[in-house]
């Protein structure tokens, strides 16, 4: 932790000390209290399909595999959407994006529903902290500012931080959306010719001076916002931060890697020049036009970045282990959405909901757990809130749309339907008419595209027989398609009801 991080931490922590209840919590020792700690470690844009712990051919995640040996591993876990805003909102509210309305890029949860969040459910007897390193996740997290004891600024543990909203602690959500996402956003023309240009020039100059030693592609940075960081500093800072928390606590730590740009460390640069050729999949009509060669290169960079991340995760794992954190904590590793390199589409700015972009990791290590438990039934990001409230002995809120995770209080239910929603081009204030909705039920996945073509369309895949989603069963009209279709359309209709005139 450098001087800047220290100043930031003290700057944020000092006002937090004045909040009722926080002072006493900070002085209770880590090991006291019977309630378990919850550590949610979220890696942005980490697809389960690119992790060796889930069977990927490249050895991208040996350290996460080590963690899996003491965790419950969920093999069919789904994000709430295919990008950060709905992904984070679903996880933290236990509701789907068509309910919480966090649908758009830079969007937020419907104001009247912002009280429905995991931190409020945990209440004041837990220390509630968050580190939204991803600025998009900070748009959601700062909506819950009244229910959090501490929000670390996104630039904490970083090398370069030009976010301005940190200076507006009383109005962080709107200040971030006004200043960092609009007036001073670095990758667009600023909304202030004078100060905006000056700010961009200063940021560009400081960025050019930052050493990229150890990072052949340059040091990692937040793609749309002026934040740069090094993986090793980030994880070292994080390890110290977690150890400084006082039990019982719930911490939501949303780390930006391995989100693009994929900046692997030197150790893993070129590791996957192995000639690996993923299955060739036909171009999708709603996909971009990237060539297979482009997609192969991007996939390789992504895999190398995941391996770099995994290496640092291994160091974090060891640090937490040495500190005895695993003895009294649920440690969760998950993501907000995946990433895809197929069918002409790269990354996750897409209406598509194929598994690589929505199938995310979920591994949960319970206090003192020493053996691995594998769960294969489908689960969703909305299940985390009810599960952890249950494990902490809190009542599950009635508004929650998730269920208890199997292996942690819940039962396997193959008849359960879960949804993934993409509607970034649809107004959050209106019914969903331009959207993609995927419904997973048993082994089947039905995908509904509405508003993208002249006519709405469906795709249907059997994930038990066709994990790569190569054969669309819908045109053949199998008997089981109709009830699935009716259920999906009925669920969408119910979600749209409050917004119909």
């Amino acid at each position: 932790m450098n001087r800047r991080d220290f100043l930031k931490l003290t700057g944020v922590a000092a006002p937090a000390l004045l909040l009722p209840g926080v002072f006493s919590k900070l002085h209770s020792p880590q090991t006291q209290g019977s309630q378990p700690n919850i550590i949610i470690l979220l890696f942005d844009a980490l697809s389960a399909r690119n992790m060796s712990v889930y069977g990927y051919q490249r050895n991208t995640t040996p350290n996460i595999a080590r963690f899996a040996e003491r965790a419950t591993v969920y093999h069919s876990h789904y994000a709430g959407g295919n990008y950060t805003i709905p992904g984070v909102a679903s996880l933290l509210t236990g509701t789907y994006a068509w309910t919480n309305r966090a649908l758009n890029h830079s969007g937020v949860i419907k104001r009247t529903l912002a009280e429905h969040n995991i931190f409020r459910v945990f209440g004041m007897d837990y220390q509630r902290v968050s580190f939204p390193q991803s600025v998009w996740s900070s748009f959601i997290v700062t909506q819950f500012a009244n229910d959090l004891d501490l929000i670390l600024p996104s630039g904490t543990f970083g090398e370069v931080d030009y976010l301005l909203s940190d200076f507006f602690a009383h109005d962080q959500n709107l200040a971030a959306r006004a200043l960092d996402d609009f007036v001073f956003v670095p990758n667009e023309a600023p909304a202030s010719l004078l100060l905006g240009s000056l700010y961009k020039a200063l940021y560009a100059r400081e960025s050019a001076q930052v050493s990229s030693a150890g990072y052949p592609r340059g040091i990692p940075h937040n793609v749309n916002y002026p934040l740069q960081f090094r993986l090793e500093s980030l994880f070292e800072g994080l390890a110290s931060f977690i150890q400084s928390l006082s039990s019982p606590y719930i911490s939501y730590l949303h780390l930006f890697p391995p989100h693009a740009p994929y900046r692997s460390t030197e150790r893993f640069f070129g590791t996957f020049l192995d000639g690996f050729n993923p299955p060739n999949k036909p171009h999708h009509r709603f996909a971009d036009m990237f060539s297979n060669a482009d997609l192969r290169d991007a996939r390789r960079s992504y895999d190398e970045y995941i391996a770099s991340l995994d290496w640092e995760f291994g160091r974090l794992l060891d640090a937490l282990d040495s500190a005895g954190i695993f003895e009294n904590s649920y440690v969760v590793l998950t993501s907000d959405h995946g990433e895809m390199f197929e069918r002409g589409e790269k990354a996750h700015s897409t209406p598509l909901l194929f598994d690589p972009v929505v199938h995310i990791p979920l591994l949960i290590s319970a206090p003192g757990q020493t053996s691995r438990n594998d769960i294969y039934s489908a689960t969703s990001a909305v299940d985390l809130l009810p599960t952890f409230t249950h494990l902490a002995g809190k009542p599950t809120p009635v508004w929650c749309e998730g269920t208890l995770l199997p292996g942690l209080g819940g039962e396997t239910d193959d008849e359960r339907s879960l949804f993934v929603i993409e509607a970034k081009s649809n107004s959050a204030l209106r019914p969903l008419t331009k959207a993609t909705v995927a419904m997973r039920k048993g082994n089947h996945k039905l995908v509904y595209y509405t508003g993208y073509d002249a006519e709405d369309s469906f795709e249907l895949y059997d994930l038990a027989e066709d994990i790569e989603e190569l054969e669309d069963l819908y045109p053949a009209g199998p008997s089981f398609a109709q009830p699935l279709k009716e259920e999906l359309l009925e669920s969408l209709f119910e979600a749209n009801k409050p917004y119909m005139k």
Binding site: N104, P190, S192, L193, L194
Partner: protein, 180 residues
């Protein structure tokens, strides 16, 4: 123009208002363009109140930018010999403003990424600054252009009757939200 004591090289309030009006008109117009460019996406997920707050932050930033630029000109007036700047305060400040902000519009219109931002180069910045100063001096030597600039600046003052109250309200909104 003030004529006594340590403030003898300060421009008059009228001159300062004319220069400020030129700066603010360009700065606020650009900001409004950006605001209306972004507005459709905000309407997808933001309330009217939230959009009003975004507008307020934007206006306050632009107010600060405009005041800062005027302060630079006032500082130059105090620093330089009277004949170099104060006596031609409006025309020289206005021509520098138009040239400088014209260049910023060009830069921000065509170079959006921070990675390739032209203003990050000291050499280029210095070159552009020298060219602008030379051009401003040349413009000032042509009576027609000088009169045109002074006339333009004096007519811009009328917009301050709108911009200043709007800025004051925006400032109140931002201060209020950050104090409560």
């Amino acid at each position: 123009m003030s004529s006594a004591g340590p403030f003898k090289k300060l421009p008059s309030l009228e001159q300062a208002a004319q220069v400020f009006a030129v700066i603010a008109m360009i700065e606020y117009s650009w900001a409004l363009l950006r605001f209306f460019y972004r507005l459709p996406s905000w309407l997808f997920y933001s309330s009217v109140g939230e959009i009003g707050v975004f507008f307020s932050y934007m206006i306050v930033v632009n107010l600060l930018g405009s005041v800062l630029m005027l302060a630079v000109f006032v500082f130059l007036a105090v620093l330089l010999p009277r004949a170099w700047f104060v006596e031609r305060f409006v025309s020289r400040s206005a021509s520098l403003t138009l040239l400088g902000m014209g260049y910023l519009i060009y830069v921000n219109r065509y170079f959006s990424s921070a990675d390739s931002y032209p203003l990050a180069s000291y050499t280029r910045d210095l070159t552009v600054l020298v060219i602008m100063i030379v051009l401003a001096l040349l413009i000032d030597r042509v009576a027609f252009l000088r009169n045109l600039l002074e006339g333009f600046a004096s007519r811009m003052v009328v917009f301050l009757y709108l911009l200043l109250p709007v800025s004051a309200i925006a400032l109140l909104v931002v201060v209020f939200r950050n104090l409560i």
